[in-house]
Subunit: 335 residues, 2 copies
């Protein structure tokens, strides 16, 4: 279909009057080729614009030099994580490619498993899966999970100290005098979501507050579900005076819903998020949130797969990074 297809190693060899083996040596900087021949081959390569076929190289070498990052969607969290991963891969000799399921998680159930099974050991040397639905993979190449699935898993993982962060957020609200504190939880299959809920419950228990179960609703970490849950919560006659959302996206959704219902944040409702997404820092009002070092999580995950791919031994294959509370203007003392 395309007029002139790429030149192959054979074309180069023929044009330079050598064998393909010699050309291969030249492009791989193997020794055993005379300077004159080297120059001649190089000239031909330059002139033809030849570049070795990655596919053929991979088939031969069982190595593609590519690390894949699998995300369910490009949302603020994964975008931030990707930046960390992209930074970490620089200079490692690997390339980074991103696979996105493109939202619609329900239509795509099991997509991670399918992708991994199809790509692993064939198109990529290793992978980072973000907020995965899988717990175990048996395919050839190493896989690191960021914000792993619940359940005992032998997958190497990177996450942050969710329980402590959530407790900090909840205590902050308690310290401000709030008692009716609702929570929007995340995806129930993720460890992070459970831990954040545990942190919330633990902080309430520490303050001898009973948990009103009707105040704990699932928002699935995404905007749409969070809007529905927030509507329900905030329309109640005994609505909460404060809300802890398990991520910033849901916090933002809640603030929007509050606005639509005529509730001012923070005077009528205090809201705390989780993640500290930079784009959302300048929300109206600026969001009080729990920061997790997302970029660094991407960095660590990437460094870990690279080590695993290179066969470097690691003492720890589970990394937990610290979280901290960032107080801005979406929370206020209850009067």
């Amino acid at each position: 279909m395309h007029p002139s297809s790429r030149p192959t190693i054979r074309d180069v060899a023929a044009a330079a009057g050598v064998s393909t083996a010699t050309v291969s040596k030249v492009i791989n900087h193997r020794h055993g080729v005379a300077p004159a021949t080297f120059a001649r081959v190089m000239a031909v390569i330059e002139q033809t614009g030849y570049s070795a076929s990655l596919v053929a190289q991979s088939l031969r070498n069982h190595r593609t030099g590519v690390i894949g990052v699998l995300v369910t969607d490009i949302e603020p969290f994964s975008a931030e994580l990707l930046k960390g991963a992209a930074g970490a891969i620089r200079g490692s000799g690997f390339e980074l490619v991103v696979y996105s399921a493109g939202g619609r998680p329900e239509e795509n159930a099991g997509w991670e498993r399918r992708y991994l099974s199809r790509l692993s050991g064939t198109l990529i040397d290793g992978a980072v899966v973000v907020t995965p639905t899988v717990v175990e993979v048996n395919y050839g190449s190493p896989v690191v999970a960021v914000d792993p699935h619940t359940g005992t898993s032998s997958l190497p993982s990177v996450d942050s100290d969710n329980a402590t962060g959530a407790a900090l957020a909840t205590r902050h609200l308690l310290d401000l005098g709030h008692r009716r504190i609702a929570m929007l939880t995340g995806r129930p299959d993720l460890q992070s979501s459970r831990q954040r809920e545990q942190g919330y419950r633990a902080a309430l228990a520490d303050a001898d507050q009973a948990v009103d179960e009707s105040m704990v609703l699932s928002g699935g970490y995404d905007c749409e579900h969070a809007v529905a849950a927030a509507k329900e919560l905030l329309s109640r006659p005994d609505r909460p005076t404060a809300l802890f959302a398990a991520n910033d996206v849901m916090a933002q959704a809640a603030i929007r819903v509050a606005g639509e219902l005529g509730l001012d944040v923070p005077s009528a409702l205090s809201v705390v998020g989780f993640d500290n997404i930079p784009e959302l820092a300048l929300l109206d009002p600026p969001l009080t949130t729990v920061e997790q070092p997302i970029r660094q999580m991407g960095r660590e995950a990437m460094l870990m797969v690279i080590d695993l791919v290179n066969g470097v031994e690691r003492e720890r294959t589970h990394i937990t990074l610290p979280t901290r509370l960032v107080v801005r203007a979406s929370t206020r003392r209850l009067d």
Copy 2:
């Protein structure tokens, strides 16, 4: 290194007591295989978890079934575009992979060319390049540019009606009584940036307003440069009363700078952006901006490459989508 490598077609063939050719027929749903054999092979595939090597398939077929999207960075614009592209690819039989240069454009000059030359015809069947620095590619597979580079280019492209949008924005500010209207321009090598500047100039000319050249500064489409430029503009004694930023990211930066300088938006400074990034819609104050249909641009670009890869003829290979002004609260009548 990894204990048990993936099963190959030969393993399956041996286990099923057939030849590799037959297995190949089974997995490709070719006819000419008896129902009983089909079932037997399928059973073995199921049991071994076999999945054909994409690399070997590609080498053989000269088709990878993968379309690449090259972005310089994951920022709001490209993230939004990716969503459109991801939606369009669904059901096409292709997979989407994203390559990101990971910021640092200056360190990575020419990265698009390098990637394309290495990947094209080898790992990907076609590509979409976003805000490219390249104008021409001669490698095997089709490439579509989104928001193309300036200069006559034979690359198929998708963009939006930048000049009209910019003129609308500028006229809006003029209609509000503003006369000292500054502009933050984008990346000078991109057509979109030039067109937005032209639209700004045209609107001023239509209103018989001379352009104060010292009020037109480059912000390079990115936050960092925009902050510097905005600082310079807004610190002047004869500072502008209104500012048109060539994209939302720069508008946001300008608003932040204004805040730091004690200038209230919109009462002391009106700001208009460009793009209508959803995340920035709930800025404080909500941003007046020119909307371009970013997702649809991603969609169109993806559909175009897919057609090109499939050899489908297209009457038009340059698509321009409409823009419109979205008035929110960052602009106000000058009193």
